[in-house]
Amino acid sequence: MAEEEDETVFDEDLDDGAGGADGSHGKRKRLFSKELRCMMYGFGDDQNPYTESVDILGDLVIEFATEMTHKAMSIGRQGRVQVEDIVFLIRKDPRKFAGVKDLLTMNEELKRARKAFDEANYGS
């Protein structure tokens, strides 16, 4: 079956392309499997995406986050990662900036709403 062939080929590819930050190849524990499945469905894939595809995406995301972290560490304050990395991406990718801005504003809003809710419970 086509997928099985793809899977063996993929394993070899994995060692080539998606090497982790600490150099560990092959057996990386599946960090994001459950969340990634939901995410892929949300982005338009089938309700039950193939495990191999989820794995590939997971490795890609980890590699991406690793690269971003390294880049962020090398600019601004060396060796630390700060919200500057968002600014770093703005000039490149308007979509990512909008996504991050949404998340951060939602977070602020939730914090405020929770705080207001708690205060309402305490007062009167």
């Binding site: 997928e3 994001f32 995410m39 991406f64 986050a65 500057e84 979509r95 998340l103 602020e108 207001a116």
Partner: protein, 168 residues
Amino acid sequence: MQTPNQKIPPHNHSNANTNRTLWLEMMRMREPQINLLPKKLKVEPEKKKEKRQKVDEDEIQKMQVLVSSFSEEQLNRYEMYRRSAFPKAAIKRLIQSITGSSVSQNVVIAMSGISKVFAGEIVEEALDVCEKWGDTPPLQPKHMREAVRRLKSREQIPNTKHKNILFH
């Protein structure tokens, strides 16, 4: 005492329908204009800001109209799209294993955000590839790999492992 927005009732995990309505309510909450960028980038004149706010409001209204006309399956998918996120703990562990020092909560939020958008770009490209090759949805590894290849050629995937030596 003034509450800036609607109060959020305590989160109930048991009833899926309550979750759905609660979530839809949240979608209708207006987003405040919080400025999270460093001061030097705040150079927009007042007029532009007003215009941008008006455009945002229009967009929010249009989204509400759109979402209220979704079918059950579309609503499901949209809910997954909005709610899915990477676990903060795992992202934090990943970042900290690289930096060696602790990172603030906002960094973790930002990193999960851009990772999610990144995943979205790949899936969208892969779906394009899938459609172009005449296949059907559950995405296969070959679609993903072709999508990555295309994004790489458009430089949308960061790769600091390969150095371009200009003059040799």
